[in-house]
């Protein structure tokens, strides 16, 4: 199974092959190895490779995005299946509509714009509050406020769409 992956800013190809219930051969670009992988609990793996042990915890952020903590150190990793490339969400075109999503669950304290407003890049759109901290969600580009999907006083979950800018 050949996959595309990024770790930080680096893009690599990843091949995985299951040899037995717990042994996996891998190739990352030209570098290959064999790992003994056990699932300890959902999203938690014990990995032994070349004698070293790695405690691996995975947090799925959706759309093939993962935070992978290896021995406690976190790495942002994305994985895509090139055969399903077209379906994979991926980053949308900078010129198309952009959804501004809540980066944390919280309460919508204030809407700073109205539908139809023209906004600049980095202009504040919505203020979300959690744990006594207020966070202004900003526009990633200049454009027009197409839709506002939340209202003042309402609650939002992390990843929920707040505003669409086109």
């Amino acid at each position: 199974m050949k996959l595309l992956s990024t770790i930080g800013d680096t893009q690599v190809t990843l091949e995985l092959q299951r040899d037995s219930s717990s042994s996996v051969s891998f190739r990352i670009d030209d570098d290959s190895g064999k790992a003994d992988i056990r699932e300890i609990a959902p999203l938690t793996y014990s990995v032994i490779e070349a004698g070293r042990h790695y405690d691996v915890r995975i947090y799925e952020r959706g759309s093939g995005m993962f935070d992978v903590a290896v021995n406690g150190e976190a790495y942002p990793v994305t994985v895509t299946d090139p055969r399903r490339w077209t379906q994979a969400g991926g980053a949308s075109d900078a010129s198309g509509p952009r959804k501004i999503k809540a980066s944390m669950p919280g309460k919508v304290v204030k809407l700073l714009v109205q539908e139809g407003d023209e906004v600049d890049a980095a202009q504040g759109l919505v203020i979300v509050e959690a744990m006594k901290m207020q966070n202004a969600m900003k526009s990633p580009k200049a454009g027009r406020v197409a839709v506002i999907e939340v209202s003042e006083g309402g609650s939002v979950a992390a990843g929920e769409t707040l505003v669409v800018i086109e």
Binding site: L14, Y45, I58, V70, V79, P105, M131, K132, M133
Partner: protein
Amino acid sequence: MFRKILIANRGEIAVRVIRTCRAMGITAAVVYSDADRASLHVRLADEAVRIGPSPAHESYLHIERILKAARDSGADAIHPGYGFLSENAEFVEACDRAGLTFIGPTAAAMRLMGSKTRAREAMMAAGVPVVPGTTEPAASFDEALEAARAIGFPVMLKAAGGGGGKGMRLVASAAEMAPEYEQARGEARQAFGNPEIYIEKAIVKPRHIEVQILADAYGNVIHLWERECSLQRRHQKALEEAPAPLVDEHPSLRERITKAGVEAASAAGYVNAGTVEFLADAEGRFYFLEMNTRLQVEHPVTEMITRLDLVREQIRIAAGAKLPLLQEDVGLHGHAIECRVYAEDPDNQFFPSPGEITSLTEPGGPGVRVDSGAYEGWSVPMEYDPLIAKLVVWDKDRDSAVARLRTALREYNVTGIRTTLGFFRDIVEDEEFRAGRIDTGFIGRWMERRALPRSDEAARRIAVVGAGVQFLRTAAQSTRKSGLPASAWKRAGRDALLR
């Protein structure tokens, strides 16, 4: 001794107080808001009383509801923890009127130390050093310059009308005074409608040193040494130590600053546990900042080096006991460090990260203590402070304690939410931190220079492999319906990978 104590708080500090109550044979009753019904402090309590909806002003800050909970549960004393009502003098008085013992200082001492100007006056009268400066705004530039010269450069210009950094200017020498003074006035006028400026001595690279005080109702006041809390982000402490690394550089500092701490508490007529906070400079000079009239978040580091239980001493003092030891009997052994585990994203300006803790592993073994308000499967509510746990380590000296901390941090794993654990893992590798060269600007500077490439190439490979394996498993699962209940699903997953 009290029969039952109501703990008017939540989270890790409520858990902390429960543990000591129970070890003293005292029934521990807690309060909870709707957001906290399943919180750990409720699960560990003997008794639990709902006090209202999630917003703090309708629950943990609501004096009448707290008092009603105390009456209903038959408690004879209230422990306020920190935050919420812990430094609210009206609450202290309301407890008094209700015949409930407030475990803390008197309302009078709380009020005195709660007022910046009154506290500063009291400290000056007691001979405790305060930051030198004018108490009235300068009437003219000449007066300002004269005051700055008298105080000695560098000085800080501060707006009389308000805070938050507006109208604030650091002035290094008399030559720079004129333009900075004008700019500060302009900014202050714009921000507060008031251009007035007063002048304080600038503490360059200040270090936060505080002295833990215990005082009983019979006039006995002792200190439990100092702590250093110079690692702060957003003016909030992140990592605290006892003893203070700064004392290594200035051996006389300990005696001078603890003496000042005791004098400050005595001057305030203080009773119970309290903390006198100072700013210190690289030369070992220090200045009174404020007194916290309650238990501190970071009290465990003092407990580790003195082996005293501060909550037990608080309760005993409130029950009318005398201090159980004299100043000369207070031990100081080894070095302790606390890391505050916040539900925050250190890679995104420490923004809050509430949500479900999908997995949690805490460290253990020698010299490791975890004071936690969290458990696996719990959702950290978005309504309250992001502090979810504290990791405290002890060892024979600072180097060993840092090594112990490093080990404990590696064992400590939280997924589902972002926490400050990874941030601390990086901090303990830092040479400046290891050398004790810290001040309140440390974290800010460190965040600037930290963008190091990760050095462990082998771990990076495993991160990619782990993500790939999970990607394939998730893809496989989403294409078939799992009809298995939770534990069977777990087992099946463990037995056979990548199905």
